[in-house]
Symmetry: C2
Subunit: 467 residues, 2 copies
């Protein structure tokens, strides 16, 4: 008989919520058997996780029926709100035909349609779509395709990737090897493939004393230097917004310089648009909106509007051609995941792309972007704890600091962002921060009243915690 | 305007199938825009992929309505057949509530139920469940948890993993670093984390001249030696069946020795049951059926009965405890995927576990296993091209050889297995081989007539290609 009595400590449940014995018992079972991602479970001794029973539009509902605005779109994935009739219908329609079939030696309409739409909507040079299941694997596929391309085209020494300090591209060991954030990688440093970290833009605390709206990416020099090294296979970057670093926003001019430098050094340019594509910045793809042509484009998160795991790595015919040969050449790309191009996920993605591409949809974001800007700017101006308000389309962030002028951060141990999160939870907004950066990535369909509630709550909670 | 005219070569379509212009156009679009997993696209110049429109039970149907037995369960994932009313209903029920919500700071009933069931059904020592999206990530999670555990418990030098020659555990770079099959890793060798490959069982060509049914795993010696090295964090293994190596089957005694040796060397034992769990070998888990207690158990594939991507890494309270501390200790496991514990996938998995656990279900496999054994044995005995028939529960394989006595393989360039596959396709069986190993992993619900058709077709096709 399995012992299920292990509890490292007795949990003190948040009694306010504990009217319900069943909920208590469910949460106890969660504590006993579930290991949540990026979670210190000891936190649950004082605060249990939010038990979400259903979701509708921008709201998550707990078992007592209390609603919470999903202010970060369930880890930046949801675009059209929860429980959307069109997305539900797309999923059910496909379910009637088949949930899944393997994707080697077999193809199916949902995947062909999705690949064709992605090719049509993305930058002109991208023609081939390789499917996988999550952002990490879409990055692993890009890294592996790049490495194998160089192996098969006479540049066997090109085996290192450049990544930016603050960059985040997933957490499998390959993806982690191009991560520029110590907290994600420091326990695994000894086993990570060796790549090259480069100091990138840091606009909030610009060492050149410049402003992201008017500079010429003077901070590009370290990248230029790194690209001169001989063994560089590619550069991987989150265009415009470094998400996990705390929604750090930098200007397009950096990307334009990067494209040009990669071209002249014959180095692959890998755009990780996992977090920023599909309308988040106001356009379908950052690369497309800026007229850039990366060699690889990694996509996931919003691709199914937050319904199902799916990812895609887009690349060029030039890359593909280096793998196209007689079977006996063994040049094929040997990489697979069992659920590659899952038809259910592809069908929801197809409906997502249809909805995103419908006339006028992206234009509906303009007033929302403006409202977020106006309110965010006002919170920044009024609060001495806000070091910066920054925004790129539907992505906005307030960085909390203990000294506004000196831009000095709080010690991480104070967990100011976490405290703001707990206050916001009481008030019906799910606003999980990145350290002390309070950020907003709501579903694109959020309305203006909901934006007001979301941002007013943030203002109020910052004051409650810090004033 | 994006050029979509690139075709490296003109495709010669399989005219037999080309009654339909629309199909031709769809396949052309597939060829233009899709990069399939583990596929040499030049093969499509002579044979286009099978365009599957719908699926039902053990059958896949193409656009002309022709049915194909899904003899390998769509890459070993499907258990209860396609389009199963109970699994469809589970998915639809959950869809009414919510498709997805993030899994940090939030929990939900489908994940709690699934974690609890997995804990209840798996070996006694396993108490915690970490969710991810595919087999590769479930392995990455196990490797990372093991590494971090040793970092946090004073054994910082334990950073290498032992894996078996022929072992396969996924294709992200971390998973690939414990892969013992050259064709998967040779293009990436330069960047892979360094681990330790060990000669393992090779029962078909046993160097000790022994038989898997009666030996004492004399081949365990190299493992014993490797475990004596100081820096070993863990051993990863596919219990009983090395899948990608060609369904190589070895006896339980090897695993029993391994458990005991890992225990005495204080090394983690990682069971990758991605392919073999959930009834494939006749029991729910190999580890459980053999009374073994791995430190980590990696699951995916059958967990949703072939509906949706989902994976889980199970581990012990001892491992978990090393991560449980005040937040400021930074001992938490910082790893996440956006769609972790996707509620739709968890709901289908819950129904899958219910169906697998129902009284008598696993017993229904017995006559099927026996029929496969009897037919497989007969093919082996009658064909001079079959070097071995081997079987573990509902997993069976015939290894083609050019010299039965000497067990000599064909040169891979001959692609004998692939030729058998093409013949079987004509006859309505989808039987994608592993090199020259023709294998059968049908949905568990396959009936005896379908088994006969599947195996008779294999017999016939082997004869057509080789006699």
């Amino acid at each position: 008989m399995k012992s299920r009595n292990f509890l490292p400590h007795v949990i003190t449940f948040n009694t306010e919520k504990m009217q319900d014995r069943e909920l208590e018992s469910n949460l106890m079972q969660d504590f006993r058997n579930v290991w949540h991602p990026c979670t210190q479970h000891k936190d649950f001794e004082s605060i249990t996780p939010l038990m979400v029973e259903r979701a509708e539009g921008v709201y998550l509902f707990d078992e007592q029926g209390k609603g919470y605005i999903d202010a970060i779109s369930s880890w930046w994935v949801n675009l059209f709100g929860h429980n959307h009739p069109r997305l539900n219908a797309a999923l059910k329609d496909q379910l009637e035909k088949m949930a899944h079939v393997m994707f080697a030696g077999i193809t199916h309409q949902p995947a062909i349609d999705l690949a064709s739409s992605l090719v049509k909507l993305s930058p002109e040079n991208l023609n081939k779509v390789f499917f996988s299941d999550n952002g990490s694997t879409s990055v692993e596929v890009a890294l592996k395709m790049s490495l194998q391309y160089w192996q098969q085209t006479g540049s066997e020494t090109k085996t290192r990737f450049i990544y930016l300090k603050g960059g985040y591209h997933g957490e499998t060991l390959g993806a982690l090897s191009v991560c520029g954030l110590d907290i994600f990688r420091n326990k695994f440093e000894k086993v990570l493939p060796k790549n090259l970290e480069v100091e990138g833009p840091d606009c909030f605390r610009c060492p050149y004393g410049l402003n992201r709206d008017s500079c010429s990416a003077e901070c590009f020099d370290p990248m230029e230097e790194a690209l001169a090294e001989k063994d560089i296979a590619g550069v991987i970057i989150e265009p415009l917004v470094q998400g996990a670093a705390g929604m750090k926003i930098y200007p397009p001019v950096y990307l334009k310089k990067l494209q040009s430098a990669c071209d002249s050094h014959s180095v692959h340019l890998i755009f990780d648009e996992i977090a920023v594509a599909f309308g988040r910045t106001g356009s379908l793809f950052v690369s497309g909106a800026l007229g850039l042509q990366p060699t690889f484009l990694c996509l996931s998160k919003g691709i199914t509007s937050g319904y199902l795991p799916l990812a895609a790595t887009l690349t060029t015919n030039e890359i593909y051609s280096a793998f196209y040969d007689d079977y006996s050449s063994w040049k094929l790309f040997i990489h697979s995941h069992s659920y590659s191009a899952n038809p259910l996920a592809c069908s929801v993605a197809n409906e997502t792309l249809t909805m995103l591409s419908e006339d006028g949809f992206l234009a509906t974001l303009e007033p929302k972007i403006n409202l977020m800007k106006q309110m965010g700017q006002q919170i920044f101006e009024e609060s001495k704890w806000c070091g910066e308000f920054r925004q790129q389309g539907m992505i906005a962030a307030l960085e909390l600091v203990q000294d506004k002028k000196g831009k000095k951060s709080f010690s991480l141990e104070n967990r100011m962002g976490y405290k703001v999160f707990l206050e916001a939870l009481k008030r019906g907004v799910f606003l999980r921060p990145l350290g002390d950066v309070i950020y907003f990535i709501p579903p694109l369909v959020i309305n203006e009243d909901e934006i007001k509630k979301m941002m007013d709550t943030a203002r109020e909670c910052i004051a409650v915690v810090l004033d």
